[in-house]
């Protein structure tokens, strides 16, 4: 293979772009072609994405009473140790980071023995009912038989030990979501799967739904649970915020699956529909409009007047409580411009709407793992001239935020210092935040946070 670099000595702005990335960037109204997405990151492009292991770990880790054992060298466990704000109403076991801490000799001679011993030690110490064993890059390469070890130990101890096929290189973060969902499917498999049994179970449990794709960051799942309870709907299991082994086992009792984080959980919902006949719908509790619409759609599903009336009552009350506050923020923020760079496409869509609710125009939208249909919706919602990009890098973010004169960026931890260095306000929409952004209360928190950063006195000094 021969590759040739043509280094241009003139300092042109064009050089911020890697040619292979051109199809991943578009501007609404300027070109018809779709943004290229759902592909591997370009080498050396400084992608903001993570790996398969990361995707699997973020989805499964909120399961509170499970042992999460990383089979690999120490780094993978070091960097993912309790880095999120997922809350638990019970066990705190999930907040520990367990690793087989593979060393050179384990890589050479194989790590299965060490894994077996680690499982023995952890069962002995914690007596868990459930354990996830995550594979990492090395394990995928040296070929440790995770399935066999987990099966053997599972039989030996009579507990569920689930292998998670999450070697870092076998795809991107989205492949990790899928690996996590596959692991979950192994747990929720009911003992009796005849359709008769399912019908019977359902007839006993009216208005019970599962909530997928909420990780209970800063109590967000509990907030939504409160709303739904008030209108007469019980949440059966949350995937995976504040979920535990006992709860997961009842997952097939639900009549409906609602999905907040589409990227991570649509696959699970589809599988549950296919296997257990549970229908699903995408909802969003980010922003007032989406929250209202979602509550109405959920209530409507049950075809019950009383339920729908209660929903309207709740909406009217909650909305009136926050109207004045939001109105004030909107006045302050009117005319500001926002840039979005988040993990999933569904979150980006909700954020565009949410910014519009508080008088802010979105001038740049990007995601790490958005899918084609999500980019279609983003393109529909965006105003002309909005830059849309998939799997962006700091160089592109810098260029477009500057070019579009964005007043704020919403993103994750890595993007924060970049925004600040550019003199741009920043909103944390990441997994370690400590305040809820869901539901009516979340909409107020969001506006408050936007105001606190966009209108901060600090910008006077830059």
């Amino acid at each position: 293979m021969k590759v040739v670099v043509k280094l241009d000595s003139t300092k042109s702005k064009k050089k911020s772009f890697i040619a292979e990335r051109s199809e991943s960037i578009s501007m609404k109204g300027h070109q018809k072609s779709q943004v290229k997405c759902d592909t591997d990151s370009v080498a050396g492009s400084m992608s903001q994405r993570a790996c398969v292991f990361c995707g699997a770990r973020v989805v499964l880790n909120p399961i509170t009473d499970a042992i999460h054992l990383v089979h690999g060298p120490i780094g993978c466990a070091s960097y993912t140790w309790d880095i999120r704000g997922s809350l638990s109403s019970g066990s705190e076991l999930y907040r520990n980071s367990f690793s087989t801490d593979m060393k050179e000799k384990d890589v050479i001679f194989g790590g299965e023995k060490k894994l077996e011993q680690a499982i023995d030690e952890l069962v002995d110490e914690y007596h868990p009912k459930l354990m996830f064993v995550y594979s990492t890059c090395i394990v995928g390469v040296i070929g440790d038989d995770l399935d066999a070890v987990c099966k053997k130990k599972s039989l030996q101890y009579g507990i569920e030990i689930i292998p998670v096929q999450s070697s870092g290189f076998i795809g991107n973060k989205a492949a990790g979501y899928r690996a996590a969902c596959d692991a979950i499917l192994k747990i929720i498999k009911p003992e009796e799967t005849t359709s008769q049994a399912i019908i019977e179970r359902k007839s006993n449990c009216k208005r019970v739904i599962n909530y997928l794709g909420d990780f209970n960051l800063a109590a967000e799942a509990w907030i939504i649970q409160g709303y739904l309870k008030e209108i007469g709907i019980d949440i059966n299991v949350t995937f995976t915020g504040d979920a535990n082994y006992e709860a997961l086992k009842k997952a097939t009792d639900a009549e409906l699956n609602i999905i907040q984080c589409a990227g991570s959980m649509t696959y699970l919902a589809k599988k549950m529909e296919e296997l257990y006949g549970i229908p699903y719908m995408h909802i969003s509790f980010l922003g007032i409009e989406d929250t209202k619409e979602s509550l109405r759609r959920i209530a409507h599903f049950f075809q019950n007047i009383e339920l729908e009336e209660k929903t309207e009552k709740l909406i009217a009350r909650e909305e009136s409580q926050i109207a004045k506050t939001l109105h004030w923020y909107k006045q302050q923020l009117q005319g500001k411009k926002a840039a979005i760079y988040v993990g999933g496409g569904f979150k980006a869509i909700s954020l565009i709407k949410q910014f519009n609710e508080i008088g802010i125009e979105v001038v740049m939208v990007g995601t790490q793992t958005g899918r084609k249909e999500e980019y279609d919706t983003i393109a529909d919602l965006a105003t002309a001239g909005t830059v849309i990009l998939d799997d962006a890098n700091p160089s592109e973010l810098e260029q477009f935020m500057t070019e579009k004169a964005a007043d704020l960026l919403v993103g994750g931890v890595k993007e924060r210092p970049l925004a600040y260095k550019l003199g741009v306000a920043f909103i944390d929409h990441n997994h370690d935040r400590k305040h809820p952004l869901s539901g009516f209360i979340g909409a107020v928190n969001f506006a408050t946070e936007v105001h606190s950063t966009v209108c901060s006195p600090v910008w006077k000094y830059v």
Binding site: G72, F169, K414, G423
Partner: protein
């Protein structure tokens, strides 16, 4: 809590080799760094560093996918180099391996040599380095990389008067303090690596993708001709020691010292400087030393009640433990996640000289926080000193934590933590003493009530 783990690490106290290898490149002028491995490694490490330094941290990845893993990652690595060179126009590109690249047996040196042959236009110096994630902790990754950089860039040169100052992972604020001290004495020096500007940048109107600052290539080249090397790496094995490399290859005299944290370690630095340059401590620094002693007197009785858990990289753990000892704080637990034979040996004389009960001190290497936590509880520790990952000692055991070292990811300002020299030690010691006092006052009333009132009542 008695744990008997042989094959499990519960809550790691260290990170991996490539993580340590990134940092030196952030301290060299115009350098970029790239990891040869899957995308997750670079993302995680960028995130970790961005949180600690509160700075944008660009670290490339060859984004190895399944195909690259099966058939070799040469194409990805070369493409990655092209893209990084095009966008960042770096003077140096460090290429570090990860577990993945090492396990599939990538010959990074050969690939880089081929790349340079195929691309004669490339003027960047490319430095390949081996940092398998399973080969050691971030501590070894840091020094291995420093040594690799020296091996690639340094060349035999005319002797000159400058001193080489080789530093471990200390904060940008500490590096600036070190420079201030040396400048005050009018000493000419090369700090290697110097991330004091790049990882603690002032706000400025125009953003630069590769921040200004760092040791220049020319300075590194000339380290071979320096009058002497002062290296703060007493716990580092000779095979990894950059200073030892300069001594072995070019005969540069090596003075291997502890981090100048604490009065004894800082004195040692000034004694060494005097030995090398004949320069004595200027009055302004003498005053700083005097103020530190004054501060030590002010707080000595409070500190005498300290039972500390000290943890982190071996070099940091050593200097903090000596600071504790010279202030009457018992370092009951001294722990590191790294493997080290030297830490315990180095600590023995101090422990012998200063403690009635040396058996009360538990020195643990290659450990994790399940062990540290159990040891802390057993020692009835009332203070912990170390990085953010020990925050559970506070949350679960009520032991207050003075944040020090890397990473600090649950507080702002890791890059501004000052702890070296007489001035830095004074500031750091005050933080420790005040944490002890806060903890004492917070529990004083309940403790005395429980201990004496309740006891008296039940008699």
């Amino acid at each position: 809590m008695t744990l008997n783990y042989k094959s499990t690490n519960e809550n790691p106290c260290n990170m991996c080799m490539p993580m340590g290898g990134i940092l030196p490149y952030k301290g060299i002028e115009g350098a970029m760094v790239m990891l040869h491995g899957s995308q997750g490694c670079s993302t995680y490490m960028r995130r970790h560093m961005a949180e600690h330094y509160n700075e944008p941290i660009d670290v490339g990845s060859s984004s190895l996918n399944e195909k690259g893993t099966v058939y070799g990652g040469e194409k990805n690595l070369k493409q990655g180099l092209i893209n990084i060179i095009m966008v960042y126009e770096p003077k140096i590109v460090g290429v570090l391996t990860t577990c993945l690249a090492e396990t599939i047996g990538e010959d990074v040196e050969r690939i880089v040599a081929d790349f340079l042959k195929e691309n004669p236009d490339v003027s960047s110096t490319i430095i390949p380095g081996s940092t398998p994630g399973y080969g050691g902790s971030h501590f070894e990754g840091y020094f291995t990389t420093l040594r690799q950089i020296l091996k690639t860039i340094t060349k035999a040169t005319q002797p000159h008067e400058k001193l080489n100052i080789i530093i471990p992972n200390i904060s940008p604020a500490d590096i600036r303090e070190l420079k201030r001290l040396l400048d005050t004495m009018d000493i000419k020096y090369t700090i290697f690596p110097d991330f004091s500007e790049t990882l603690d940048r002032p706000y400025e109107k125009t953003y630069k993708k590769v921040p200004e600052g760092g040791t220049t290539i020319k300075e590194i080249e000339q380290m071979a001709g320096a009058k002497a090397t002062i290296q703060f790496a007493t716990t580092v094995e000779d095979a990894l020691s950059p200073g030892k490399y300069l001594y072995d290859t070019y005969g540069v005299p090596l003075y291997n010292l502890p981090i100048p944290l604490g009065i004894e370690n800082t004195d040692l630095l000034f004694e060494t400087i005097q030995q090398i340059t004949n320069l004595t401590m200027p009055d302004s620094i003498k005053k700083e030393r005097g103020r530190l002693i004054d501060a030590m007197i002010d707080s000595h009785k409070y500190n005498a009640q300290g039972r500390a858990v000290v943890y982190g990289e071996p070099e940091q753990a050593f200097s903090v433990a000596t600071l504790c000892l010279e202030n009457g704080i018992t370092p009951n637990v001294i722990a590191t996640g790294s493997k080290t034979t030297k830490l315990s040996k180095l600590l023995q004389p101090g422990l012998k000289r200063k403690l009635v009960n040396q058996d009360a001190v538990n020195i643990i290497q290659e450990t994790d926080f399940s062990v540290i936590r159990a040891a802390a509880v057993e020692a009835k520790a009332n203070i912990a000193i170390g990085h953010s990952d020990g925050r559970y000692l506070t949350e679960k055991e009520g032991i207050p934590l003075v944040r020090h070292g890397f990473p600090i990811h649950d507080r702002v300002g890791g890059q501004r933590l000052l702890s070296i020299g007489y001035l830095g030690t004074t500031v750091f010691l005050d933080r420790i003493t005040n944490t002890l006092l806060e903890n004492k006052y917070l529990h004083y009333r309940t403790n005395m009530y429980q201990e004496y009132y309740k006891k008296a009542k039940t008699i």
